[in-house]
Symmetry: C2
Subunit: 361 residues, 2 copies
């Protein structure tokens, strides 16, 4: 069909210039005699790719020089498992604020090895709002407070960084990193799988404040020790080189487009367009999330008549709008509108939604 | 320079038809409207890619139907860390046979969480031979016996599967998987990073016997639990989709070339060519590994005059022979001749070595 507008929640659309550059560089990477896929991670060519990607990410997110930036595998869920081992003493609790599916997964990852205090949970209200921070039940001696800045499935996003009490704040930014500035003075650790806003699947990012990084944590393998990864420049073992390279191309593209401030503006416009179409549909399309905490990245919605959903997805695909099927945990439709989704794609979706409603409303 | 013969130890050369196919399929994967990089791992297109790759790997390695086949991230080193958590009770020891650098890394990964019994170690002899099994000091109640079938840095390879006593045998086959048949009736688990013989970096494979998989092991995150990965079809979280796809292309290429038996024949021929050139050089080139345990995959060697090494590497690169620098732990030269390296590449290297010796010998 040629390239469609791809609303997949992740792996997600990549910027077209990135795909084109990767394609052009595939058989022989910049005269190296081999593709970047085939180059040693210790060789000068890939070391340069890696260093450039880190420098660009630091510039893009304005990461303080003393913070460690790690390129890791295992996805965000592995980071969820590692934070308990790295940052909590044996027996020490941590606070978890749960505002959807991924917050709960984060709790499940650490329950086997630490006492978890769920300080707040929006499950009772169907995961459509964020309990006010004044109601959170924080522990006295929490190792950290973990929360999910944007819930990819439920479409719930913190409008701003939450307070953490006295404990370091650890945020899962997998699905909205790079879509607004981050205040690192208020964050102990930021982590994200790259496959939504920053690149392909198979690589994850972690930014860790030095005092947190130096905690002794629990007995663990060197591979599970962030300090070891930091000392080794994220090359404790063979990294996912091609994924790293692609993420680097995305960073360069984002910088060239105007950086995080520009993507924040674009995200606001794209989200406003789509929520307007939903709210203005006279109930044909429904999103139940409280307006103040609606995600600018993932817009889940339902058709008033559930039976129309397969037809919606089928006709959307025929119109060049793909990846719109909702997560199996929730059903319905979900449009993920990450940084690589142009406003034209959202306009095309909104137009399709209007036409579909005219046809079946 | 156009594509060179790439002797990198990993990430390593991929078969040229695989690179070409990946390139052709990049912007729009088989009419899906997006590249395979951008497709949801839960969508029908990628689910098919994943299932086909598993089926092809099972066929390629003749993996018994009741064995779990996992596609994982984190590299072989992460599997080294996970085997203790998954297969040993708290306090239970495991036996480790160390025959080089990676065997020692495997020990380091588990020391923080289990009593390790190093049953044998060839460090005293400079890692150039394998201590006979009759001298291994096995534990009474070992959870398993771990060994490294091929040591990528030291170039030491087991000529056949070792005996394991009563414990399940766990083998790191990262650098020689797919180069000879595996007898799964004698193996509890086989694992490998893909980036040497089977694909790109960023994806690892584990084949686990059912009785081993069902062990309860130690308290750990679901992400660190092989059972959870097996139940989820290796999609417990977002997998490295592009890496999985590329590995699948390599499996198909290997099957089309004649399968493991054919690569065993090719490996024997390639290794014989190269070791002959070294041994027949009158001491100009030296490999100190005992002939019976010389690796068919990684051939480290030294020049009689160490000062000539930079010139050797420079002139080799100019002749289109790249990736020959030895690992920093050992120095010297290393030629990795995995499945994707054609015999013509080895012949070109041997010819270059002869000419270099004529010039400087």
């Amino acid at each position: 069909m040629g390239r469609a507008y791809n609303f997949s929640a992740g792996p997600a659309a990549l910027p077209e210039p990135v795909i084109q550059q990767a394609r052009e560089e595939l058989p022989d990477w910049r005269g190296a005699g081999a593709s970047v896929l085939e180059l040693s991670h210790r060789g000068p060519e890939f070391m340069d790719v890696a260093a450039q990607a880190e420098a660009d990410l630091r510039s893009l997110l304005a990461i303080p020089a003393d913070h460690a930036v790690l390129f890791l595998t295992g996805g965000a869920t592995t980071q969820q498992a590692l934070i308990a081992l790295n940052f909590a003493d044996q027996g020490q609790p941590a606070d978890y604020v749960v505002t959807g599916h991924w917050g709960r997964i984060a709790v499940e990852q650490v329950e086997p090895v630490m006492p978890v205090n769920v300080a707040a949970d929006n499950a009772a209200d169907g995961c459509v709002d964020i309990p006010p921070a004044s109601q959170w039940r924080l522990s006295e001696n929490a190792a950290y407070l973990h929360y999910t800045d944007n819930e990819t499935i439920h479409g719930v996003e913190f409008p701003e960084l939450p307070p953490a009490g006295g404990a370091p704040l650890i945020g899962d930014f997998s699905s909205n990193i790079g879509s607004r500035p981050l205040d690192f003075s208020r964050l102990g650790m930021v982590y994200a799988g790259a496959q939504k806003n920053l690149g392909p699947s198979g690589i994850s990012l972690a930014v860790i404040r030095p005092d947190l990084l130096e905690r002794s944590g629990q007995p663990r393998a060197p591979m599970f020790d962030y300090r070891a990864h930091a000392r080794a420049g994220s090359m404790l073992n063979t990294p996912p080189t091609f994924n790293w390279y692609l993420a680097g191309l995305v960073f360069k593209w984002m910088l060239a487009e105007g950086g995080v401030a520009e993507f924040e503006r674009r995200s606001a416009r794209k989200a406003a367009l789509l929520y307007s179409a939903i709210d203005g549909s006279g109930g044909f399309y429904v999103n139940r999330v409280a307006p103040a905490v609606r995600s600018r990245m993932n817009v889940p919605f339902f058709l008033h008549d559930k039976a129309l959903e397969p037809r919606f997805l089928e006709q959307a695909a025929a119109a060049g709008l793909i990846g719109l099927k909702g997560h199996r945990a929730l059903g319905g439709i979900r449009a993920s509108i990450y940084n690589a989704m142009p406003e034209a794609g959202v306009r095309a979706l909104v137009e399709f939604m209007g036409a579909f409603r005219d046809r079946y409303g």
